[in-house]
């Protein structure tokens, strides 16, 4: 597969007459290598569906149509991307200090649950107060949930990947237990759910669209996270601690605090996503919160190479793939799992393409000539 990728990458730059001044070699590589990997995975996927005697061209056609073919499908894509930009940060931020957290699902669920509690408690407050309180509850709950993972890692040496995974299951159990017990709205007859946060307290849509404000909030948070990591001392320290813990310790960086902070912020982002899901989509907490956005967020973070800015386009890409799944299923008879297969193929190809970074001569010379 490596050869295929290596072969695909030069194919992307058949006309490199005048490399743009803005597009330096390193940046071109950062763009072209993943693009090439996506092209390869789409090709593989085409071959895969061809085995089921389905015309790959029709598949690509429906995917374009379902993801960007109309104003409806563009909105469909964006609305599916909205939660992912935030849950991806739950993996991407702790990754800066070298932690591998897969607990976004749990942080999303506890964030949504606590936001619903805040919303129900403030049913008669002004909408802005209620919304801010819900956001704060989601941020605090999700943040503390993942900060716990960081704390266990730093003070007890508990592997963060495993503990964050286990905490996902625990968060889901807590959610189910509460919405079928103490926090159940007695009127939620056949679908156990918490009381509603009230129609008037919903986070509305961007005017003229069907996309809720959560997408905008998510993008703003991603930009802030990028600034934090790339343009502040804390971010710099975090990246040093992640890149070389020994050196970080020698220069006296507060590793424990950096771990706690990035974990808190990552969890807070996922918790905020949960709060937005309640405030913009679901209105009340129920098992519907267990939607897998936390797990897809891991995928987004890795495809974006843990870069908060890159998270946004990657989330939109994945949103587009899932938005097109319905058309593929209804018109070509492709199983619903086809979109998961494609996501998996893209993921594998992009990861494998990591290996070509800095190895292709053209990028190297461009970089050297900078």
């Amino acid at each position: 597969m490596a050869e295929e990728i290596a072969a695909a990458v030069p194919a992307q730059r058949l006309n490199p007459h005048t490399p743009s001044r803005l597009l330096t070699g390193a940046r071109a590589g950062a763009l072209l290598v993943p693009t090439g990997a996506i092209a390869v995975s789409l090709l593989l996927f085409g071959v895969f569906v061809a085995f089921a005697r389905i015309n790959p061209l029709a598949v690509y056609g429906y995917m374009i149509e379902g993801a960007v073919g109309s104003w409806f499908s563009i909105q469909n894509t964006l609305i599916r991307a909205a939660p992912l930009v935030l849950t991806a940060l739950c993996t991407a931020l702790p990754a800066q200090v070298g932690l591998m957290i897969i607990g976004g699902e749990g942080a999303f669920v506890v964030g949504g649950l606590c936001a619903a509690m805040a919303g129900v408690a403030l049913l008669h407050a002004p909408p802005l107060v209620a919304l801010l309180a819900m956001a704060a509850a989601g941020i605090a709950a999700g943040g503390l949930w993942i900060a716990l993972v960081g704390a266990l890692r730093y003070w007890r040496g508990v592997n963060e990947t495993i503990s964050s995974l286990l905490l996902n299951y625990i968060a889901i159990a807590i959610l189910n237990q509460l919405v079928e017990g103490l926090f159940r709205d007695p009127r939620s007859l056949n679908k156990p759910a918490s009381p509603s946060i009230g129609d008037g307290h919903m986070l509305g849509n961007i005017p003229g669209t069907e996309i809720h404000w959560g997408l905008v909030i998510g993008i703003v948070v991603c930009v802030l996270a990028y600034i934090l990591i790339r343009h502040t001392t804390i971010g710099f320290a975090a990246r040093i601690a992640g890149g070389n813990p020994r050196a970080a310790r020698m220069v006296g960086l507060p590793i424990g605090k950096l771990i706690l902070l990035t974990c808190f912020l990552g969890g807070a982002a996922a918790g905020l996503a949960g709060a937005i899901e309640i405030a913009a989509v679901q209105e009340s907490a129920s098992a519907d919160l267990i939607a897998g956005y936390g797990y897809t967020g891991i995928l987004v973070a890795f495809l974006a190479r843990q870069n908060p800015l890159a998270v946004v386009p990657v989330a939109i890409l994945l949103g587009g793939i899932s938005a097109s799944g319905g058309l593929l299923q209804r018109h070509l008879g492709l199983p619903d799992a086809a979109t998961v297969v494609l996501q998996g193929m893209i993921f594998v190809c992009i990861l494998a393409s990591d290996t070509v970074y800095g190895r292709i001569a053209w990028f190297k010379t461009a970089e050297a000539g900078r």
Binding site: L166, F302, A337, V341
Partner: protein, 308 residues
């Protein structure tokens, strides 16, 4: 088969039976992951391998009529998934944890995609061996209906423990896992050893998957695994990379999983979600108690990305 009620005694019996029934997939996946990790790689993709094993095992058992052919097919498919993981991770600058997550996704997606035609048909099931023929208690007899695969796994654990310690192969594997440089200096093909270790790990995880669809619960469905594969990877760390400890950890986890329903059946109804989450809570607590930041985990391969 149906006997008299034995009341509260059924809880420990159910936990014992559950430990045997539920633990087998955990056991195979964790033994496989143990081998992979001893070589210095971590394969989080075993969840995908497990589900692929469950699907392909069921499909082949149904098409061929032989459950054991299904088990073999599941193992081969698992080994191929391991080969994919091992090969991609051998490329420079590729992160094995991330590839694992990718293959988890790909494996589950492929299994659901390819498994559609096998949701309905009933495949022949693996036999069990009756270890309580002497007893008249139907509950005890059920608890001691021991599936052949469980016995194989139970025998494999000490064998592996011994092989890792005492055989030349075990030594090479552990050396590769401890120090790439040392292994290279001695002329061992580090990459090849790791790929083989990942293949073997995938093989065992695939077999673990076939147990799900061919013995317990004994059907192919898209919800067949509720995270057993990824949890089993957690068990390896919990078991300190010791195959024998993997065996006990799997039993503990399987038993804890059976606790929730059996308590309900004797009248304890409060908090069944939390009771169902007992295995996860238990694992987390044990990890918190037994881990320490002061020292590297005993038994942890030094080249493993999660312990570095």
């Amino acid at each position: 088969m149906i006997g008299e009620s034995i009341g509260l005694w059924s809880v420990p019996l159910a936990v014992l039976g559950g430990a045997i029934r539920v633990s087998t997939p955990f056991l195979f996946v964790s033994l496989g992951e143990c081998i992979t990790e001893k070589g210095g790689r971590i394969n989080l993709g075993l969840e995908g391998t497990l589900v692929m094993g469950a699907m392909s095992g069921y499909a082949v058992a149904y098409l061929s009529g032989s459950p054991w052919l299904g088990v073999a097919a599941a193992g081969i498919v698992g080994a191929l998934m391991g080969l994919l993981h091992g090969t991609i991770c051998s490329l420079p600058r590729v992160n094995d944890i991330a590839v694992g997550i990718a293959l988890m996704l790909l494996g589950v997606g492929l299994a659901d995609y390819l498994g559609k035609p096998f949701i309905q048909p009933a495949a022949p099931q693996l036999p069990a061996i009756d270890f309580a023929w002497w007893s008249t208690s139907s509950q005890l007899r059920e608890a001691l209906q021991i599936p052949g695969l469980f016995l194989i796994g139970a025998a494999l654990a000490p064998l592996l423990w011994w092989a890792l310690r005492a055989t030349r192969w075990g030594l090479i594997l552990r050396m590769v896992g401890e120090s790439t440089d040392a292994a290279r200096a001695l002329g061992y093909p580090v990459i090849a050893v790791r790929i083989i270790a990942t293949c073997v790990g995938g093989f065992l995880a695939g077999i673990g998957g076939s147990f799900l669809s061919l013995y317990y619960p004994g059907a192919w469905s898209e919800r067949i695994s509720s995270g057993q594969g990824i949890t089993a990877v957690a068990l390896v760390i919990f078991a300190r990379w010791n195959p024998e400890a993997c065996f006990y950890a799997s039993l503990l986890f399987g038993g804890a999983g059976a606790l929730g329903p059996s308590l309900q059946s004797v009248g304890v109804h409060a908090g069944y979600y939390l009771l169902n989450a007992a295995p996860y809570i238990l694992t987390l607590l044990i990890m918190i108690v037994t881990c320490s930041p002061k020292r590297t985990l005993i038994g942890a391969p030094a080249e493993l990305s999660i312990t570095r």
